[in-house]
Symmetry: D2
């Protein structure tokens, strides 16, 4: 099957951790997988990752138009950018507060607005969104991050209620734990079994993206077996 004939999966926020794992899982499952990230690169298994600054609305809109024109209509979109800010209010800047919302919420709105109508016309698909512990709980130094993750959850619910009857499965994945990536290994010094393996997370996204229409999950949580909650 040529790339042209494969279904298309777009991973927005395709960083070196979960982003790569998602691209690999969809590619190995028969998709053409494309990523958006701050810096263009090839994923570990050679999927294209295009440079998109998700805080820039115009650039994000253009990127979706380019995708639709060049690669076609996605069957699956995963929205996965993370802009973690953990600071007391006095040290949380207005710029940081805005950047968290722009990159994680406004980008999801712009991409949904740009791509979902075409996906409806093409017969449906899936729109999966990465949440976090802070999607459900506004912790004491999480003013920027929790506010943005709450916003993203509200947006995702609204999209589910508008678009599920039109054939787009919209799901909110709550990642309640630390992903096992090179970056987090340096940062947290946790034993491996206390972290979420990115390929296992990606497998869950795959399963949810392919649920039959009679049993669509809107929200689920994921955490290591040893994680307190």
């Amino acid at each position: 099957m040529s790339e042209q004939q494969k279904p298309l999966a777009l991973v927005v926020g395709a960083g070196p951790g979960l982003g790569d794992a998602l691209l690999d899982r969809f590619a190995s499952g028969g998709y053409q997988a494309i990523g958006y990230a701050r810096n263009s690169r090839q994923s570990v298994n050679d999927q294209d990752i295009l440079s998109v600054d998700l805080q820039n609305i115009d650039e994000t809109e253009d990127a979706v138009q380019h995708l639709l024109a060049t690669y076609g209509v996605p069957k699956v979109i995963v929205h996965n950018p993370a802009k973690l800010i953990i600071d007391p209010l006095a040290e949380t800047t207005i710029d940081g507060f805005e950047a968290a919302w722009q990159s994680m919420v406004l980008s999801a709105f712009v991409i949904a607005k740009s791509a979902l109508p075409a996906m409806v016309d093409a017969g449906g698909g899936s729109f999966l969104v990465s949440g976090a512990t802070a999607s459900l709980r506004g912790g004491g130094r999480f003013a920027a991050f929790a506010s943005a993750k709450f916003a993203l959850r509200g947006l995702t619910q609204s999209l589910a209620r508008e678009f599920q009857p039109k054939g787009i499965h919209v799901a909110h994945m709550i990642l309640d734990g630390i992903l096992d990536t090179n970056a987090s290994r340096k940062l947290h010094n946790l034993p491996t079994e206390k972290m979420m393996q990115t390929d296992a997370v990606a497998q869950t996204y795959w399963d949810i993206a392919h649920q039959p229409k009679s049993v669509w999950t809107h929200e689920l949580d994921l955490r290591p077996s040893t994680e307190g909650f």
Copy 2:
């Protein structure tokens, strides 16, 4: 592989709808699958369904002891009894209120208390619980059913927090829709695509029961794509 060597799955509340589908899914996946239901019978694919009155504590405890002695320690338990009561308060009897709680909550407590320690000793497993729309919302004529389903959710969370660090994955599956069964077809007169297919639901239970330890889901919802929520 003989039945003795297969892992064991117990489906509590193995009615003709989802119960059969769960037994079949686990049997076809290589498990010895056993059911508990009010009336003993063979499932459609010949798994044993034993007669247990889940409102009777002693009988339920005995059934678990019998299972452990005869079939061994379960790898997976699915708790799935449903006692639906929809009535205004004036017509909800004390007997009905108690029966809903005994069959759906007390039975889960007794079975967890009887089986989980053995499962921990045997190296872990999964304990999956069927919730409903009424697990999250106490509707106007759902005093008995919602109260019991809320109770079951609280119990399930508590079990997760105590037993996940010991290797038992505890998950709460929120079934937010009508299952497509013979009974519900007569009752609701819904088109098939508005109902949840029991084999698709069972597949989700299977997926959750087999998540790797780094990504355990505690709670998810399931509903048809066309279901309002």
Copy 3:
């Protein structure tokens, strides 16, 4: 105004801590205030506290019938029994699990069923229920208590949705902290400012019981300013 002409407030679970404070607040606000507790006594300000074993359904039903016949129809009922059980599953007995549910959930159901229709006929009133941290979170050693408190919350929501349109304000008060009572001072050794003052809690119940019909609160939380959550 004679006792006969005063509105009637019933406090179910009128222990020496919050029970007394509630009886006092309603008495000082012009109510005839009556309590139910395990042992009959006079409250600190001389309100009658009648002996009722809330785990005993028949006794509880009889107590409500006696109240209606002798004192008249309540304007306000506060449901406040607490049966705290904190134990790992292995040490949580079936008796304890049942007792928690009977005293905190079944008693609320029986009292609502016995009294709400008369309150509707008498022109309305308030039914306030004491929740706890465990109403929203099933902690690791709270299988019995959290399960019962979840159940009570589901029941309370259902009662609100059925009875608010009929003029009964139903509210769920989440007490997220330690009440400052003689018993808890011995148990917890907390500084006073880390505990909830019972007269302040009772004042909030009073405020909620007297909200005008255009702004009824169904659920609120209460905790000391210093309490983590």
Copy 4:
């Protein structure tokens, strides 16, 4: 008592409905009450309402600095701007999506950041935030509004956890119904008893703002007795 000596209450988003009622309630309770609204005016009882464009960060920051310099440190801040947008995704503009977030979320962040440290230094106070039905549920045509109201709830939780131990009571008031204002009477054609009276809502804000430190409410809902939920 001169205005200088009175405690100061600031109502952000002081429109002609709930804004006026809040200014009046705090003024009649002995506060100097000041409002921010798009257009400067006098409230019905002559409190100053200053012109502030809450979508403009610099203007909002300047307004708080002006307030602190001219009127002193607030004892109470109520954050109440509403920017209702109800549209399908295709008709929700990027400008509208941003405006909802700027006026309802970013403004709360900027005002909290500008005023809370001074309030802490001055010995404490209250910061009350107006939520809505859409704070808890992202409805099908509420992408902009629900996303912003979810964000505001997450921010408010974070502020509560950071600032309550420092003496600032932070509360989230969920207004689950239509306020009875001139504007909503024209819009909804509801009977009066189906709407929330603004003076009754304001009284609840007053009560919450003056709870003693041992019983602070973080979140409550308010709705007419006849409102479905």
